[in-house]
Symmetry: C2
Subunit: 435 residues, 2 copies
Amino acid sequence: MTDDSLTHDSAPAAPQKLSRRGLLGLAGAGVVGLGVGVAGDRGVLSATASAGGSTAGGTSYPFFGEHQSGIVTPAQDRLHFAAFDMSTTATRSDLIELLQDWSTAAALMCQGKPVGEFGAVDGPYDAPPQDTGEALDLPTGGLTITIGFGPTLFVDASGADRFGIAAKQPTELTELPHFPADDLDAQRTGGDLCIQACSDDPQIAVHAIRNLSRIAFGRASLRWSQLGFGRTSSTSTSQVTPRNLFGFKDGTANIKAEEPGKVSKSVWVSSADAPTWMAGGSYLVARRIRMTIETWDRTALSEQEKIIGRTKGEGAPLSGGTEFTAPDFSVLGRADKPLIDADSHVRLAHPDSNAGSEILRRGYNFVDGNDNLGRLDAGLFFISYQRSPAQFIDIQMNLAKNDLMNEYIRHVGSGLFAVPPGAKKGSYVGAGLFS
Amino acid sequence: MTDDSLTHDSAPAAPQKLSRRGLLGLAGAGVVGLGVGVAGDRGVLSATASAGGSTAGGTSYPFFGEHQSGIVTPAQDRLHFAAFDMSTTATRSDLIELLQDWSTAAALMCQGKPVGEFGAVDGPYDAPPQDTGEALDLPTGGLTITIGFGPTLFVDASGADRFGIAAKQPTELTELPHFPADDLDAQRTGGDLCIQACSDDPQIAVHAIRNLSRIAFGRASLRWSQLGFGRTSSTSTSQVTPRNLFGFKDGTANIKAEEPGKVSKSVWVSSADAPTWMAGGSYLVARRIRMTIETWDRTALSEQEKIIGRTKGEGAPLSGGTEFTAPDFSVLGRADKPLIDADSHVRLAHPDSNAGSEILRRGYNFVDGNDNLGRLDAGLFFISYQRSPAQFIDIQMNLAKNDLMNEYIRHVGSGLFAVPPGAKKGSYVGAGLFS
């Protein structure tokens, strides 16, 4: 490997530079023996690491575009979600630089490339590698990286407008209301920023969050994070409906990418909505929902189906038909009781019960070991995207008050984030906030 | 769906029955409204659930055989590992029945079948489903289920021979010695029994542990459990070498299934070894190794490679060649210092440094969220199989004392288990203990 391979690589034109701060973050400022000069003076990141980029192949989605990827993108199988807090000393320009650096690095990783030079004997051998390396031999894996802003980014808990963006805060971007039976853990709730990394390979999703956390060094740090191993919703008609940890098919009636009318009505913020910098964006709700699966597993099948409102095997509504038959809430059975219980999950979550409100769900199953009583710490990491948080709030308030399922679930974490539109090539996610 | 489909199914001959206790465990003994009569009286589990078994297809490995699967089986991509403790009231016959039930259920799941009737309106509709259902539509996924016995199963902490098997305890099956810098968490250490579930689909591995935990209800309960998302070793020459979270290829020199001489010398307990019931079995060591990846990531590439003894990109030994070139510890570089440091991981773990001892590694990467300082709780869930625990102990004592890597890792969980040979069809794992 000679220097030629670094200067004459055949990769696409290098995107933006990482900032000097980003490079220092990557390279570990202040560590003894660090070749800061080497790393900093090189400036431009080589898009092809000298030790070889990721294996070509696999599905890939563009990072730049009208909308951020990872929303209507066919839901990948695995998730690493992370919420960050800005450091107490961070300034407006730090935030801008961080978003620029994240965008640069994310665009590289979505192409299956390392976030920076990986190192070679003739390169920054005495500096830390700029990419952590665990995804080096892997394909692109359908990686998407989706960035969002929490309410506290605009106005912090003390009421301060730390980054000069308070005037840009969407009216609807406030803390979610307290829902009945909410049992939120502050350590799993909120955050100034969030990143959703989805991939068909968990190592690729983990690699993305890890490297974006490193890049944030000194400017923002992880507040909480969650891995999900199995998608619980389809966002495309091309996908088989998956099952959640109640063993039921989930997301049958979800909004699909192939329904442009529903997507533009219910997912994307329109240019007619305020604020204008959010046009083409969406609002992300995350809820960590612990399922008491041991109790559920001792519940009769008849009761499980009554709670869900669908059959467990086929996923058909209890009013009849097959999985994709629309539920008919008017069909009565024995003793003139509706076949689909009035307090079943499918009925309460249905648009007909919520003034037409719909949301795009994109959740994941999780298991995080077990508790001291030998119960799996398992459940659903719920993610939804909607044009307005009000859509989620209406549905969730209805569910939290009435859903038969509440006996078997507990909401223990929560977050609401404004997800700006996609960035144009050469720009960065959230640029509209600062113009 | 009529009763005919239950009695005239075309599946292979139903294996053993689950015990009445197993069915009760499955069905949730003591829950109001439980149709115990229905479930218990039916007796034989239908191998094809009335709501449809898993989708055919995918790799499958036999549960029954000379050796348990999941040891020299090509390492699957995902892991759910669980350690169990017997309940304080459990008897010898409870233990036997549990092992029978686990074997029956494991054999079904390895064929991609649910562990029992899933339920139908004309079946046990008013009883809980005997399978939790979240793997219903999934293929076999290369599932293997490997069962092991901890030292405390033979003689408990108070010195009691609770199950009448103390005389059968292998001399070598005792607590592992304390290694320098061990920082073990009792909540992640030990256990009377263990189950390793590996699959290429995490939902399938999780489904297996969940259902085996349910079956154990009242007899044994989860002590600790661990998900792993990325294999860190190849156990077959047909596999690409994966990377651990240090970003290095791992397992290049691992024992491979295609090396029968090494496998029989170093993995399987021989019929000449004591005790005879272990012949064809192996010893499993599990270590939860937390990596301080944030510190590692700020370490120069040159230092990382010195610590490992291999290049990061290619995985070649620092003495030259390519990934599969044997390391040459005698090659000297500048100032007559060896190119591969005497305290490098590759050198200290090498058979030449351990009187020829080799182990078969089968570990997984993990990330379990992050700590309060914003550091990912990440690392390697190390699993190894060896003919004798002494092989692991020799190597680990050497590493724990000298390995340059120790600055970046901390062993926080540990377990040693005797993994009996595979069961014959019609018998169960561990039968040799009770004959």
